[in-house]
Each structure stands twice: as structure tokens, then as C-alpha cells.
Subunit: 174 residues, 2 copies
């Protein structure tokens, strides 16, 4: 059975949406995800705000209530019938996040289980046939087939097979 | 640079010693590690007590104050000069443990860092040249060279190269 490793933030979870909400409420701004997608200078301004004000990532609770990506639950459930599915999340930078991510997975993806969940720093020691991830730093060192999941911060990257949503993941694998 | 994956419980940390202490204080027993090593029927009685009374593994604080194995800090520091060292701990079964294990590693092995720390369920997706672990279930599926670190529960296992302490690890690798 082939093995698929799946990232959490901005792949299973709408993490960027929550980050935008946090920046808006903390800095009294009004960024919207759709506008950031279209307007590059707005995106640069947003990332500048984010880099200087991202302490909320370390605060208890941040990772608990992030929305699930459309169709992710149904497609991962389907993938599990044909593949060994692992969730692999770069989480050890955020000590509070790991318990919260386990709770979140148990709530939305109870069919995965702690046995198939990995929290790490670097991902280059992960052995799998496929990795679906939004960060080039994780894909570039991956020894299997890397698949880029589209996110606000990776739209300029050309070097990977790309999926834009979970319907496209289903089309690719099922 | 070759990669060594190193387990935490009963490899870096004296977890069995703390478990024996917990069983003794909770069940009013007087097991000692040295006696358990020598007396097989005593060991079986101990494991029966442990199987029925191990809820402390899920309680906050359990993984915070475990003693470090003799020579582990110095040898891991030496290994880092010649190898890429990753700590790989089966921890997702115990949601409270991950933050505590990060704190413990930062306290005793600050030179490792969250980037080289992995918390997982199954370990069979870990890609490394060596795995030092006390559990056969982790070694048996490992694609690199497995090395069994001696512990109370694995003394009967014959199928792996074995190390009994960190001096022997140093002798093997450095």
C-alpha cells in the first residue's frame, strides 16, 4: 500500500484565513484573502504586518478552532481506502500546538488516529511515496513525489505538480 | 552526513525507573529495577501491576522530570559532530507528553533543537541510517540499521545489534 503524507496548516486547515483574521483584529486592519490573492503589493504589506506580529501562533488555543478545508474530510477518508495516510505537521516550533492539533484531528478526522500522526521540525526524514504540502522547504528535500497545495504564499512557485483544492487531490489519487 | 534517529523513553531517559517509582508509590509496592532484572516472575508480576495501573502516563507532568541516562548528553553531543541526529519519540498517544518532552529536551539536550525533534505514533515512516530504540515494534519496520538499546522489557530479544549503555553507543559510532 503506498503511503501519502499530508500536511495540516493550509492543506487540511484554513490556517491562513485564521491568521488574516488575527492580524485584522489585532492591528485593526481589513485584509481579505481574496484581495490578497489578487494584489501583490497588498500581500507584501500583509506579510510585513504578519512577520512583526505573529506571536499569536505561540498562544494557547490558536490551533484549536481553525476551519477545515472544503472536501478535505471526505477525500482523506477516500484516500485511506487505497493508501496509508499519515498526517505530518511541522509543529515542534509551537509547543502548545501539538496537543491542540491532536484534538483538532480527533474532532475533524477521527478516522486517522494518533498512530498516523507525526509532529516534527524538519520534514526531510519522512519516508513516503507522496507528500502534499504548501511549503517548498518541505517538498524540496522529499524523497518521494512532492505535490504543492496552493496557498497565498506559494502561488509563484513553478517547480511542482500543484493541486488547488481537495477535489483536485481526489482527481489525482482516486 | 549519515542520519541517526534516537528514541527518548528508556534510551535518553530513565523512564522505566520513573514507572517503577510510580507503581511503588501508587500500589504500595517495593519493586526495584535491579531485582526486576534478575527475577523473571517478579518482572511478570510488575508488568501485570503496570498494565492495570498505567494511567499516570496520561497525567500532566509525568514526562517532565525523568532522569537522564548516564553519559547520554555527552555522547549525543559527540554524535552531532559526525551525524545528523534526530530525536524520534512515539508520543502522540500521550497528548500532554509532547510539550513536556520538548521542555525536557531543551533542558538536557539544548543543542538538539525543535527542528530535529519528531513526535509520532508509528515510526515506520522515519527515514534514517540508524535507529537506536528499545522497542522491537519500532526496529522491525525500520529501513536503516536498527540498534536495540537494552531495557527491562527487551532482554530476551536476540535479533538486533544491542547496546547496553551510552558508552557502548559511543564505541559503536565515534
Amino acid at each position: 500500500m503506498k503511503r501519502i503524507a499530508i500536511d495540516m496548516d493550509d492543506v487540511l486547515a484554513e490556517t491562513s484565513i485564521k491568521i488574516i483574521d488575527q492580524i485584522n483584529s489585532r492591528l485593526n486592519k481589513s485584509y481579505s484573502h481574496d484581495e490578497l490573492l489578487k494584489d501583490n503589493s497588498l500581500k507584501m504589506a500583509f506579510y510585513q504586518d504578519y512577520q512583526s506580529n505573529n506571536q499569536f501562533l505561540w498562544e494557547p488555543g490558536f490551533f484549536l478552532d481553525i476551519a477545515v478545508k472544503d472536501d478535505a474530510v471526505e477525500v482523506v477518508k477516500q484516500l485511506q481506502k487505497k493508501y496509508e495516510v499519515f498526517i505530518v505537521s511541522a509543529a515542534t516550533e509551537f509547543p502548545e500546538s501539538m496537543k491542540e492539533k491532536l484534538v483538532w484531528l480527533e474532532q475533524h478526522f477521527p478516522f486517522i488516529g494518533w498512530q498516523h500522526t507525526v509532529f516534527c521540525g524538519h520534514k526531510h526524514m519522512i519516508q513516503a511515496d507522496y507528500l502534499i504540502d504548501d511549503h517548498e522547504k518541505n517538498l524540496i528535500t522529499f524523497s518521494g513525489k512532492p505535490i504543492l497545495y496552493s496557498a497565498l504564499h506559494n502561488l509563484h512557485i513553478q517547480d511542482y505538480e500543484r493541486v488547488n483544492n481537495w477535489k483536485e487531490v481526489a482527481h489525482m489519487f482516486i
